[in-house]
């Protein structure tokens, strides 16, 4: 179902390049790439649930926040090492997705999207108002030991590993029964059931996978940034970015979210420096343009870009 769209040689060269990059670039660019990788991982995770399974988990950022706080609390209260914090983040997100998944996944379409939004907001409100988590004042993680350059490289590789895991997981899913089942659910859930697809189980599985990947990204983020607060990690702006990157790159494709993340981050970089005040507006305009002209994302342009294609896209969705 998915063949690599580019020759293996190119991938290998790019891979080596990515591995060597942090030793050759300055700290600024290392941080840029690290952020890009994080968002690529997030967009890929979203893709598994929203792109392949067709369930628009708009509030999936809740797992980002949960992962961040799970790690943060583990490292501050339990003096746990980083890797254990990540594992804990994965476990917490897994449980959350499974427990809340069964009732919430009975909803479809808009209602499911709203429910996940509500989940995010409710969880944020909870974390904000409980003293244990530091409340609205946020949580500071233990300071990382080591010199700046080495730390930057460390997190670069952590995020690189995450995006590799996310893309890899997506690739594996597409090759297995789970992938076909999820697509069937997306295209026609009832018909899928009558073909023998265990819809509830697969939906929960897909969401759990998505949640765990998102949570691990949150854990890495918390450690990288060193300080988290509810409004920053349960942030709908992150949620929107995840979705936009997935859509821009191409939902239900393996590499689409990666492409989308790179593009949005690079554009954001340029916009940030030129038009500081209009950062949100610029992102908003990009979103609007993507939705209208390229709803299939960049991956859908593989067969060629033309004005004709853009106009066809508009015509297909209009009233």
């Amino acid at each position: 179902m998915t063949r690599l769209p580019i020759p293996e040689v190119v991938v290998a060269v790019a891979g080596v390049g990515l591995l060597l990059a942090p030793f050759m670039l300055g700290n600024y660019w290392i941080r840029v790439l690290t952020t890009m990788f994080m968002f690529a991982a997030l967009a890929s995770a979203t893709n598994i649930m929203a792109g392949y399974t067709g369930y628009p988990a708009f509030g999936n950022v809740v797992f980002f926040g949960l992962g961040a706080y799970a790690t943060g609390l583990a490292m501050t209260k339990l003096r746990a090492p980083f890797w254990l914090g990540v594992v804990l983040a994965a476990v917490v997100c897994c449980l959350y997705a499974v427990v809340i998944g069964f009732p919430v996944l009975r909803l479809r379409g808009h209602y499911f999207a709203i429910a996940t939004l509500g989940m995010n907001e409710a969880t944020r409100a909870l974390v904000e108002n409980v003293a244990f988590t530091g409340g609205g004042m946020g949580l500071s993680l233990p300071v990382q030991r080591g010199e700046v350059d080495a730390l930057n490289r460390h997190f670069y590789f952590v995020m690189l590993g995450l995006v590799a895991a996310a893309v890899g997981a997506t690739y594996c899913v597409t090759r297995t029964r789970l992938g076909y089942g999820c697509l069937a659910i997306r295209f026609d859930e009832d018909a899928a059931g009558s073909c023998g697809v265990p819809t509830t189980r697969f939906k929960v599985l897909a969401w759990t996978l998505s949640a765990v990947l998102t949570g691990m990204a949150g854990a890495a983020y918390a450690n990288w940034v060193g300080y988290i607060e509810p409004r920053a990690v349960f942030d709908m702006n992150i949620a929107v970015k995840m979705f936009v990157m997935m859509l821009l790159g191409g939902a239900a494709t393996v590499f689409g979210p990666l492409l989308g993340a790179c593009l949005v981050e690079l554009v954001g970089l340029m916009a940030w420096s030129q038009i500081l005040n209009y950062h949100s507006a610029a992102l908003g305009v990009i979103v609007i343009a993507v939705v209208i002209f390229v709803p299939g994302g960049l991956m859908s342009l593989r067969r060629g870009l033309s004005i004709r294609l853009l106009l066809d896209n508009v015509r297909a969705s209009r009233l």
Partner: protein, 292 residues
């Protein structure tokens, strides 16, 4: 006595909630469009009232028609120009689109007004009815009365006018409506315009009730959600029930949980309703099965 005060506060703010939710509800019910920029439309209306008040000394209640008119134009053009292009797209595309608009509109407001909070405080703000330990500010009563009146006017419009009935028919079954001669391509911009106008009017009321800032729109969008889900999609009486219920629950809940959880209460209510009865009090069950 405290319970009485809280209940009255709840009812009064519930009326405002109803008004806030109406525009959102008709956009969703008729066009299957969840407008994440709704809260910011409300903020636009609020700022229009604010401008008229600070520059022209116009009483905010009188600013309502102006806010409504301006937002109607904005909504109509927006729908005609842009949203019409993606109306058949999937759920998250339309969600993302309206969120994109929200980002754009919030940015515009931030540039124009900065993030500082503003208030609209007419001369009669502090005065109210005092009766047996219960205080009811005149402003709140005014807001409630206006909100309910606007709700009633919308209801009359939807049920007694030709255009209104055409809109309702489209919300029940778009294809059937087309087959009996409703020009759906004209209905959608009208509906969006009316929804935006309601948001604008609600915005003027919001300016009287709360301090406003460009970034507060999201909270109102969420409130609109809860009200619509509670009361049922596509039902004006449902919105009334939903709004009043939310207002009362929010205020009475302060008896058992600290006030800072009030925001969270709304979401908990939302989640409970979605899981137990997605169609709400008076809504139609089939709306719960929207194809993505």
């Amino acid at each position: 006595m405290l319970i009485l005060q809280l209940t009255i506060n709840g009812i009064l703010v519930g009326g405002l909630y109803t008004c806030i939710a109406l525009g959102f509800s008709i956009m969703w019910g008729v066009m299957n469009l969840i407008n994440l920029a709704h809260g910011t439309f409300i903020m636009f209306g609020a700022y229009i009232a604010f401008l008229l008040f600070t520059i022209g000394g116009v009483d905010p209640f009188l600013a309502i028609p102006a806010a409504a008119a301006v937002m109607f134009a904005v909504g109509y053009l927006l729908q005609r120009g842009v949203i019409n292009l993606v109306i058949r797209a999937s759920v998250f595309l339309t969600l993302i689109l309206t969120f994109g608009f929200d980002m754009l509109l919030v940015n515009v407001l931030l540039v124009l007004f900065s993030a500082d909070t503003r208030s609209v405080t007419p001369a009669y703000s502090g005065v109210g009815i005092h009766y047996g330990g219960v205080v009811v500010p005149y402003v709140r009563i005014g807001v409630f009365v206006v909100a309910i009146t606007l709700t009633y006017l919308l209801h009359v419009f939807l049920t007694r006018t030709k255009l209104g009935n055409a809109i309702r028919a489209t919300s029940f079954d778009r294809e059937a409506a087309e087959m009996v001669g409703v020009d759906v391509a004209r209905i959608f911009p009208m509906t969006f315009g009316i929804g935006a106008a309601m948001a604008g009017a609600a915005g003027a009321l919001v300016a009287i009730t709360y301090s406003i800032s460009p970034v507060l729109g999201g909270a109102f969008t969420m409130k609109a959600f809860v009200v619509v889900v509670l009361g049922g999609l596509g039902s004006v009486p449902g919105a009334v029930l939903g709004g009043l219920t939310l207002g009362i629950v929010e205020h009475l809940s302060t008896l058992v949980v600290p006030p800072r959880y009030q925001e969270g209460i709304g979401f908990i209510v939302l989640l409970i309703v979605l899981l137990l009865r997605p169609s709400g009090f008076l809504g139609k069950p089939f709306y719960a099965e929207v194809k993505a």
